[in-house]
Symmetry: C2
Subunit: 795 residues, 2 copies
């Protein structure tokens, strides 16, 4: 033992602070690990249910990490074996049962989400139609003032509706994509997946789109898909991994129904969610996307002859027309596309930066109270109405509708243009046609009308005002997507460039190609997603010819934008304090500075022994907030025995899985003998006191330690943690580089990683909060400081 004490100084340094330890347990280090976590915990029980409020007011969200690795305890193994042997030989074994259950839930998710998307679409289209028609009638009568007042009133009412939804459920504001990204990254924001959020989000986005705000319904649809998946599976998922898989499916269905882009949806879910490409998850998202698409098509084919799908009713960029050579661009125009991509990236960067500044201002000035937030919505809506109405009034340009040489498709397009104060049927107002229509229609007008349909001046005016309003709008208390505003302003910008280019080289591609490229550039500069965005845009375009220009533009836009700042979703994620988002890759600076796991870990380890006193467990659970605790075998060189989760401990205490050992004299000397009511068969223990099913049944609502009642008598009894401890916990050597630790943590989807020294003794723990960019920067700074101190001391 003399040798051991030399090596074990990491874990046995005494720092007795636990007055409640009764002296019977081994001494522990400081129970409180990090004050930030404690601060979070204050909000946990106070502000639950109004966290969205907390989010904006305090910039602090109380959230938990998820874990995607099963705890391999003895009870779990017994459960797995039992499940298998019980149904062995049956045709309907456990695996098939699970499979059918999962896939039917996935199908339900797809169907339900498609219905939600369809209803949202139909309703908002109806509202928008109604609004513009009644205003249009008044305009035809040249009653401009009355028209404006009616327009203003309608928009204000819808905006107020949207504002009220967010008032009721604050987290339903905004795009929803940051929240889904966080969830798929392993951060469980409270109330994000509640039914209340779903209702507020869906009704809210219908209203905010109807209110004519520069918002899209695509982001909210992704969020809605995630919630639908969670609600449908809520009674059946047994762990975080299954839940995450379902939410991935839901997000895929959301993207699929928003853009009718099934493959884009799958890729979005995989890109955001899966740190590990698992074929089964791919198939699930595939199936969910497919079901959603089929439902959407079916709903769209209702009433059509022979059930033909009305593709024109879905979100799409419409059919592009080509010249007789069948090509919509020439190879040398790629240079122009790269240029547009670069400028689009710049526009995106400015957009993101401006929105960041505004959001910061908003967080300190507006978000203090719900009233102010609501007033802001009304104010923005008013400003929007004024600008939208007076812009076409100020720049009244009546352009004649061409009468010759029009295909059937073009005919449909020309029906969408708005006369405003011009002669209906023969003339249209350029600006009004972009403003007084559904944003999806405006995008299609910009994509498909012939090259002289929009003058440079009206495009410039529209682009400038619309994007400014979009910057201001994102972040107010309404559900608001970012895709459509980016696409719309981008399309105007692209067409503008196309117009200018045409003046110089009349031989160039159609304006529609330029409009598409511009839309992609601005969206790419703002959102900067990788492959999923390309596929989504390609699926919306519906034509493979645009693959190369879109890829080129999106790549350029992303590279250009990334020189200046992050994408808008990440900016908003980082603004939520307490949300520890793990990027897919670590910056190489940690490698260059030679950071190892031992330097970033939290060194105050709170541990339990394999057989532990109830009182100690209870006190530790109460005084610390960790989700996992290492189990250290103090009778065997302090090595890591395993890990155990807070939830399991709470259930054990609640179910009173404790007692006095059969032979009390063995305690303390060596591992205590087996509990009285605990059967041991062969080398495997098959009947522990609490079975896996019972531990699992509590998911996801485990008892809280504050609800437990532990009497003084209970405190002296013992719990055998060995059957419940995860004895195969993944651990990391203290000498491992941070890079490796990070990839281990992220690719396995861990929540907690014990750090061990070379004798497998726990010297620290790594959680999500140790691996964020901020935490790592902090550690590097401290390392540098220590180095300076050392040099000073030496000199």
């Amino acid at each position: 033992m003399q040798r051991n004490s030399l090596n074990n100084n990491n874990t046995t340094t005494n720092n007795s602070n636990g007055g409640k330890n009764n002296g019977s347990g081994p001494q522990r280090r400081g129970v409180v690990r990090r004050t930030k976590q404690q601060r979070n915990s204050v909000f946990r029980h106070d502000a639950f249910g109004q966290t969205g409020h907390v989010r904006y007011k305090k910039k602090n969200v109380n959230c938990e990490s998820l874990t995607y690795v099963a705890d391999e305890s003895d009870v779990w193994r017994a459960h797995e074996a039992m499940e298998h042997y019980m149904h062995r030989g049956d045709f309907w074994n456990a695996g098939k049962h699970f499979m059918i259950g999962t896939y039917s839930r996935i199908a339900l998710t797809g169907i339900f989400q498609a219905c939600v998307a369809y209803a949202t679409n139909i309703t908002s289209n109806h509202f928008i139609d109604f609004k513009f028609k009644s205003v249009g009638r008044l305009l035809e009568e040249k009653a401009v003032v009355r028209a404006f007042l009616q327009f203003y009133f309608y928009q204000l009412v819808f905006a107020a509706m949207a504002g009220i939804c967010v008032w009721i459920q604050p987290i339903s504001g905004g795009s929803g994509i940051p929240e889904v990204k966080c969830y798929l990254n392993g951060i469980d924001l409270p109330t994000v997946l509640d039914i209340k959020t779903l209702f507020c989000k869906v009704i809210g986005v219908t209203a905010s789109v109807s209110a004519g705000l520069p918002v899209g319904k695509e982001g909210p649809m992704v969020h809605s898909g995630a919630v639908v998946a969670n609600l449908i599976s809520s009674g059946n998922v047994k762990n975080d991994r299954q839940k995450r898989d379902m939410v991935s499916c839901g997000a895929a269905a959301g993207v699929c129904t928003a853009f009718s882009a099934p493959i884009g949806g799958i890729l979005f879910a995989l890109e955001e969610g899966a740190s590990y490409w698992s074929p089964s998850l791919t198939w699930r998202t595939f199936f969910c996307s497919m079901t959603a698409l089929a439902t959407l098509y079916s709903l769209n084919s209702i009433g059509s002859a022979f059930g033909k799908v009305g593709f024109n009713k879905l979100f799409s960029f419409g059919n592009f027309e080509f010249g007789h050579d069948g090509s919509s661009y020439a190879m040398y125009e790629m240079i122009a596309f790269v240029l547009i991509g670069a400028i689009g990236g710049l526009i995106g960067a400015i957009f993101n930066n401006a929105n960041e500044v505004i959001t910061h201002w908003r967080m300190t000035n507006i978000n203090k109270s719900k009233q102010r937030r609501f007033m802001e919505v009304l104010f923005v809506s008013s400003a929007m109405s004024v600008v939208m109405f007076f812009l076409p009034l100020a720049y009244t340009k009546c352009t004649p509708i061409p009468t010759d040489n029009r295909s059937e498709e073009q005919m449909d397009m020309w029906e969408k243009v708005v006369p405003f104060l011009c002669e209906p049927g023969t003339e249209y107002n350029e600006l009004a046609s972009l403003i007084f229509t559904d944003p999806g229609d405006s995008i299609r007008l910009l994509f498909h009308l012939h090259k002289h349909a929009f003058s440079t001046a009206s495009l410039l005016l529209f682009f400038f005002f619309y994007i400014t309003l979009a910057v201001v709008t994102y972040g107010i208390a309404v559900p608001s997507g970012l895709f459509v505003p980016s696409l719309l302003s981008g399309a105007a910008f692209g067409r503008l460039v196309g117009n200018l280019a045409h003046k110089i080289y009349p031989n160039l591609a159609y304006s529609n190609t330029y409009a598409l490229i511009g839309a992609a550039a601005v969206l790419g500069g703002m959102a900067r997603m990788t492959i999923s965005l390309t596929v989504i845009l390609l699926e919306c375009t519906g034509n493979e010819q645009f693959a190369l220009p879109l890829m080129l533009t999106l790549m350029t836009a992303r590279i250009t934008g990334s020189l200046f700042n992050e994408d808008l979703y990440h900016i908003h994620i980082h603004m939520k304090k307490g949300v520890e988002f793990l990027e897919a890759e670590l910056r190489s600076v940690t490698r260059q500075h030679n950071l190892v796991a031992g330097q970033i870990m939290g060194a105050n380890v709170i541990f339990l022994r394999p057989v532990e006193k109830v009182g100690i467990i209870y006190d530790i659970l109460k005084s610390s907030k960790h989700s996992n605790y290492p189990v250290v075998d103090t009778d065997d060189k302090n090595i890591l025995f395993g890990t155990i989760g807070r939830n399991a401990l709470c259930v054990l205490l609640q179910k009173r899985a404790f007692g006095y050992p059969a032979d009390a004299s063995t305690i303390g000397q060596n591992t205590p003998s087996i509990m009285a009511n605990y059967l041991q068969i062969g080398e495997r223990r098959y009947f522990p006191l609490i079975q896996w099913e019972i531990l699992e049944k509590s998911y996801p609502k485990y008892p809280s330690v504050f609800d437990l009642r532990v009497t003084e008598q209970d405190r002296d009894q013992w719990v055998d943690l060995r059957p419940y401890a995860n004895t195969a916990a993944v651990s990391v050597q203290e000498t491992s580089s941070v890079h490796r630790t990070y990839s281990l943590f992220r690719s396995l989807g861990l929540r907690f990683l014990p750090v061990v020294n070379k004798y497998n003794q726990v010297v620290g723990t790594i959680t999500r909060s140790d691996l964020t960019a901020d935490a790592l920067a902090q550690t590097m700074l401290e390392k540098g400081k220590r180095h300076i101190d050392e040099v000073e001391r030496n000199s």
Copy 2:
């Protein structure tokens, strides 16, 4: 120490077999770990360069696993820090240099692969045109016998050319996709990525396609892309991970150029290669695909007016025409598509099974000699010529070409039909039109000609004979892809179903939709890829409308086919003995049988000490074939100090990085002191004898142990392995479940995983071969046997 000896019985059991150990080192366990590996090693040096031959004859391929994790040794860390500090403040720092180098190599890969694909296309099209034109002229003169002889002769010459290519480089036979899949899975088959393979593959596939065999050039293009990437980067990649990333890019470019499907290419590379979704790899494959596509488009736009891309010259399914309602199917037709998918899956399963049986027969009867393999090629070519020529002769059906109501696109189509013995210009022979054209054109004819263009009888005849020949052909000694034959026979099958369905319900979708669905079904039933195949087909189709039918069909085909057997690529991979392919997911049976790492590991650990004698290292390297060795600190409780690779050891011996310790008396007692020429600064050693650059420079051609000269005097000297050992090696507890071990192994891309007990003492090692399905089944069987023995003993 008394306590230690109790716990260390796993590692200190004496089994001295090393007569050369000189008694000075610690005793080791049996040096040879598993005989199979040794058997492989015999071929290593004998059959290198003719492994393809070995492959078919002995069913045994000698291959190495790749590792994707950097060895984090002290020299590596010093190197990383130095790289960083040397260029700190420079604008062109190491990271940027590396980035630019990598991306320019990726761009070169794309450009070069596009040129290869373009050249292959142009050449084979030219040859096919030449062949059919000269035969066509003779047929017009009604000189049937002369026509046949000429036809037969041309086809035989081309087939012989293809056969000769495979004679020269046996591994260039077949599709190439199994080989690329293996490589991306981490299995380095010899000569797969050599320049000789590239030449033989590309020339061979041009010849085999020109020979009219039922083969495609798509699989070989993927292989070619992988080789091109490897060749371009060969001087610059420093480790397996970088090489794999380059090969992934190449494979993406290959798919992209073969199908003009850039997104499909990216997804193929990611799905096959990346066990871990890394954004940087996504961007690289994206960039490579994009470059390849741009090059391909540029090459195709040569000579066209204003550089417009000739999309019709690329591989695609052509533009589908729709009715005036803009939809090509009704929702209730989904039922028919599911049915076609199920039948297609069945056809695919039969195809795979038949090909497996034939390949087994071929391996025992044909593949014994190169002569036989060559003769087989000539025989198959002859059979093909006879069938292809006499089929349209036997069933001569002259159908008139419609003259009215034709769009420009349809006009182009009708120009492709073949009159054979009918009246040129006004009539065409249905079967001959499918047979006497380029397979790509045949597919387009089946997709686009009006619904009465092909009679049921000719479709049935064509389908039956073509698919039978395709089954026989795949596996003969020519480069041969599987996509086009599957698509072509599938299209015939789909059109057949469409014809029949039309007779019953005349209101149904166009035949072209059915042909497309049939093609997808048969291909899906054979290849069973997940999302990448959907995207490839969608990109070839070029129309988003078909997303839902394609998804539905591919999913059904996959599910149906998987009830019977594996996909053809996996069947062929599993036929190569010694190739240890790790599937993405482990079967759940290992979990149900409660297998843990300690049960599947190789228990004979050959280890080195941190400071080791040259003689021992040399003997171990010579007597064992392992790629990695654990370094065990015998002076410190036998704990795992780290791991070291065979390659590093060989370089150390070659560079003579050994000497006598400064103080000889310390050896054995405790870790020997630092070598004379080894500087230690602070806590970090900055100047080890051999720097990382030198270790790295040898990649990938490390010195072999058999090339090393170690004198008797050298043998007594010592090597300090500590600076070179990976002290942060990922290890796994012996109690970890196999599931977790597998996911760790696969998601981190390991080659070697030490298994430790709870004291961090090495008790075994896990390599790729322990984790294959076969090895696991074997372990489970043994476990069961042991259990029976135990029960018998007890009773």
